[in-house]
Assembly symmetry: none
Homo-oligomer: 255 residues x 2
Amino acid sequence: MSHAFRHRDILEIARQEGKVTVEGLAQHFGVTLQTIRRDLSDLAEEGRLERVHGGAMLPSSTSNIGYEQRQTLNAKAKAAMAKACAQRIPNNISLFLNIGTSTEAVARELRAHKNLLVVTNNMNVANILAETQDCEVVVTGGNLRRADGGLVGKLAIETILQFKFDLAIIGCSALDRDGDLLDFDIQEVGVSQTILQQSRKTYLVADASKMKRSAPARIASLSEIDALFTDAPLPADLPQRCADWDTEVVVTPAG
Amino acid sequence: MSHAFRHRDILEIARQEGKVTVEGLAQHFGVTLQTIRRDLSDLAEEGRLERVHGGAMLPSSTSNIGYEQRQTLNAKAKAAMAKACAQRIPNNISLFLNIGTSTEAVARELRAHKNLLVVTNNMNVANILAETQDCEVVVTGGNLRRADGGLVGKLAIETILQFKFDLAIIGCSALDRDGDLLDFDIQEVGVSQTILQQSRKTYLVADASKMKRSAPARIASLSEIDALFTDAPLPADLPQRCADWDTEVVVTPAG
DNA sequence: GCGAAATTGTTCGTTTATGTTCGTTTTTAT
DNA sequence: ATAAAAACGAACATAAACGAACAATTTCGC
């Protein structure tokens, strides 16, 4: 088969795991070590990977290290959640994706979807979806937040008010025991609330680490969300509350 | 069965699976390998798929590659122009950068500037400036144009109308003998005109290749521009015209 | 039904990708 | 520091995929 397929998958794996090993890839693809070495050499030559003894890593030059690290954190869990979420997203709808690594993971899983209108205030989502064919991408205006590529502020809110979405996929900084969605950034809260207000349906994507943290600003309650996608069972009495609220909970363990 | 049906289905499968193999398709449709190869060649020629050994893939970043190539074209000349332009840009001002590889080059040279407010409808400019510290970046909304990362349309114009810039740095697709700025995309023309209208001063950055091309839509005349940065002397009587118009011309030969 | 045009199948020489072997370099353990 | 082990990359062999040319088949207009 073609090296082109492998190259693409290798990059994908590298992005998720942060690194790849020659042996691991050889086993994964069922080819010899030499073939993988050739692949990695090629990718390194193109500057897409950085070759190291025994494998390869993501090129260190990429812009925001703090962000990159956060991105690879729980990569597998996020990908699994995102896949489950993407499966519930039909074709031919309008969709909002907001800030957060989890929503970016969903964007990655949407690349096979068709005829979507995706609006986002996340530069990374826009970059990801720029590679797909069959979807119109609209970027909201806003002040660029370097930390995560988010677009926030008045401009973002005004743009969002001009749309009505079939579905919004949102993330949050933390999810507390009472079922409240919290965020670190007060500006982002305004954006998120506007999104909720402008969409017919809302899915929340939040990995388990969000339940161990707290944040100062409240976005909304799970009761206002149609479905929650996560990677570990909810703590305490949240499952019961969600049932009462008619909020579907989809748990997708990693792996 | 006609090849048209297969083509449609092949694209369908490619979008779902992300890739297709010659062998797999041959089996799926019950035809010979050669027939599939012909199909894939056709689809690749139309730019709908990317042919690889053993099959084909979605042309993931094909448009990106075209862009990447364009970007490295005249890279030295562009960097020199951009440097000259950046030197004329003071600190502590508000600035607009629009679409084009030349303006991106300027963005790269602006990374040492301080306390700028940069508004842009160019995703690449935003990405470049995201790395700098001392400047506020605002992204206009708009429909994402995959070819060059531009944000265009009504949203872009509306955002721009909310600002007044000290200086706008713009590019264009072509520059004709009469001193008219031309563009390939009618949508972008509207954006550019709005920028001119909202800025106190305007610099045009255009390398010599722009003078050998033509484009259908007219943005403005050099007479409305305060300074032109380019990498080769202007042809014919343009220098005289610019002098009459009080348009400064800065020629920066590459190297 | 007949013939032209389009489509698909077949064959074959050429190109490309992968596996194999082996001497060299890097890493690891002592 | 030194030796053993692992990883590396170059060179070659082999297998797979490729595309061009031509033959066979189907489709369609008449």
